[in-house]
């Protein structure tokens, strides 16, 4: 399967949106990038929680060529993932465009080692189904899929962004102490505690010991407090407090006092007698009426009901 303008550009776009989505859905998780080309696997980013750094590295590593070695890639990934404490969840996602693998040793050994290290391997293929890829995914509990076209590729890669369902149950619940550092002024000059370098602006101050750190999330080098940016955590809160599903309002009931416009976008709504197309939905909580477009936007992106938010908050949240 060939993609336009070329495979690498399409793959890079898919990976870039995957990285953003991954951190949206797994705010405290880390991720690292490895490229496979010319028979070798190369680490281009270390495990970290900064999407922009990964995307920058990805964009500056767009060359391709030579054979692919699945074994070298898995060995390197295993080495990278070995740093994580045992309760962490290890996963490898491979986007593979070659039709074969060119390995220095026995790939079956590597497969067994991955299984032993509890690494879940998933592969999104770009060409045809390959037996060893299928076997690897089956044996490690991952998912193997082959993309048919560009949008299918994007969908397949995106499916790996939400945490696997088993994770939510197996994770040990714990209460973790964390700090929310303040970002210092863009012109402030300070010595950072992580690199021991003088930095101008863009630093964060640990709320407990006032040390400066360069990037979030991290652990304070001085007092060991886990430091996160609170918006980072807030990205997943909409899962906790979902907006109720809106109900369709039946127009043949001929209410005389239906609102004329959508509460959200102020667009005209279909009214009883008219033959105008479109639906009108209502929030079961605040009873405000919305158009179809707003219904979709509210549930898929905004995650707030404008009607409910326009009422005084008592026990909201």
């Amino acid at each position: 399967m060939d993609f336009r303008p070329n495979n690498i550009a399409v793959v890079a776009n898919a990976v870039e949106s995957f990285i953003r989505e991954f951190f949206d859905q797994n705010p405290l998780s880390h991720l690292g990038l490895i490229t496979i080309r010319n028979g070798v696997a190369k680490r281009i980013t270390e495990l970290s929680g900064n999407p922009e750094a990964h995307i920058r590295a990805l964009r500056s590593n767009m060359e391709c060529g030579g054979d692919a070695s699945l074994q070298n890639a898995l060995d390197l990934a295993r080495e990278v993932l070995a740093q994580i404490p045992s309760y962490g969840y290890r996963e490898v996602l491979i986007i593979y465009s070659a039709l074969s693998t060119c390995d220095p040793g026995d790939i079956m050994d590597t497969l067994t080692k991955c299984k032993g290290a509890k690494i879940r391997c998933s592969i999104v293929g770009l060409s045809a189904e390959i037996y060893i890829c299928k076997l690897l995914c089956e044996q490690t509990g991952g998912v193997y899929s082959v993309a048919l076209n560009e949008s299918h590729l994007n969908d397949l890669v995106f499916e790996h962004a939400p945490p696997p369902p088993a994770l939510a149950e197996s994770a040990i619940a714990s209460l973790v102490r964390m700090g929310f550092p303040e970002r210092v002024s863009e012109d402030a000059v300070a010595l950072c505690a992580c690199h021991k370098q003088v930095k101008v602006g863009g630093c964060y101050t640990c709320p407990r010991c006032r040390a400066r750190v360069c990037e979030l999330p991290t652990e304070c080098n001085i007092c060991q407090l886990t430091l996160v940016s609170s918006p980072h955590l807030a990205r997943s809160y909409h899962h906790l407090f979902p907006v109720p599903v809106f109900e369709e309002v039946l127009l043949n009931l001929a209410h005389s006092k239906l609102p004329n416009v959508c509460f959200g976008c102020q667009q005209d709504l279909p009214i009883g007698g008219s033959k105008e197309l479109g639906v009108r939905v209502a929030c079961p909580k605040c009873k405000q009426h919305f158009c179809f477009d707003c219904d979709v936007y509210i549930h898929e992106s905004l995650h707030n009901c404008p009607g409910c938010e326009s009422l005084p908050h008592e026990s909201n949240v």
């Binding site: 994770l167 700090g179 970002r183 002024s185 008592e314």
Partner: protein, 300 residues
């Protein structure tokens, strides 16, 4: 940022202004400060002049105003509706003022729930933001070359921690649609939520040191369209306050305890999570449990 193909289109703006008309703020202010400081009348006059200047800067510019108080939020002005409801004899400014008057009267008449003894004095910023984003979404969906939307939020009352989750939801949605949220803290305190909103969406945060001169700040800083901002030295934030609010008491905190399953924030240690019901075992893990590490491999 601006990816417009049409030359000239990039200067066209759609500005949705969120106006805090909280009576507790403005009422108390007029009693405390007498005639000094910013009064509600001056504030409204500045906003009216600002809306007019936006509309005059480019005849394709659009402006809408959402007023938010303590008990409701509503659109009080929309430049697109000009000539539809009102005829020639009413200017945009008089319409805006008329509707704000109506808004204040209806908000006054809204019944307070009986059991609520201590009245909530915070302004409904989350509602106003949500309304503005729904409205802008319609512009983005229109398909035709559309003006560059942005939100300007004029908040007077201090942050309402109970709205934290809703405000952040709206901010992330704005970020995804690349809508900058400009924020201006008109009151006496800096606002952590407004700072975060501007920082995340690429907008400008400002707290005027002399609120009486609000019109000056509005025209010099917030009237500039997104294209021109690249060439200007606009105020840079003196830091961003990333504090969050705890789920248990809605207090703003800079250090707290996080549930590793659902990421709820608590200000004190507790035995179970009130949001997801997770039980916190006695053993103290060294780091967070819900960690998912992944190595993505791209192949060439």
């Amino acid at each position: 940022m601006a990816k417009s193909n049409d030359i000239g289109q990039d200067d066209v703006s759609q500005v949705v202004i969120l106006l805090d008309v909280n009576p507790y703020f403005w009422g108390r202010k007029s009693i405390e400060s007498g005639s000094s400081g910013l009064t509600f009348n001056q504030f409204m006059q500045s906003v009216v002049l600002f809306v007019n200047s936006i509309l005059l800067l480019n005849n394709l510019n659009e402006a809408a105003v959402v007023a938010f108080g303590t008990r409701s939020c509503r659109f009080v002005f929309n430049s697109k509706l000009q000539g539809r409801n009102d005829k020639l004899h009413s200017s945009p400014s008089s319409r805006l003022l008329k509707h704000i008057d109506e808004f204040l009267n209806t908000e006054d008449a809204l019944p307070t729930s009986m059991e609520q003894t201590n009245i909530n004095e915070s302004s409904l910023l989350s509602g106003a933001l949500s309304l503005a984003l729904c409205y802008i979404q319609r512009t983005l969906k229109s398909g035709q070359p559309h003006p560059q939307p942005r939100v300007l939020c004029l908040q007077c009352k201090s942050d309402a921690p109970q709205q934290y989750v809703a405000i952040m939801n709206a901010v992330f949605s704005a970020q995804r649609s690349m809508i900058p949220i400009d924020t201006c803290a008109v009151g006496t305190e800096h606002s952590a939520f407004l700072q975060q909103a501007a920082h995340i969406t690429g907008g400008i945060y400002m707290k005027p040191s002399m609120p009486e001169g609000i019109f000056q700040y509005l025209t010099v800083v917030f009237a500039t369209d997104l294209h021109s901002r690249r060439f200007l030295q606009l105020p840079r934030p003196a830091g961003v306050d990333f504090r969050a609010s705890c789920f248990c008491h809605k207090k703003t905190i800079d250090m707290g305890y996080i549930c590793s399953v659902c990421l709820s924030i608590f200000c004190k240690k507790r035995s179970s999570c009130s949001t997801c019901g997770a039980n916190f075992s006695q053993r103290q893990p060294t780091s967070i449990g819900l960690k998912r590490k992944s190595a993505t491999i791209t192949l060439s």
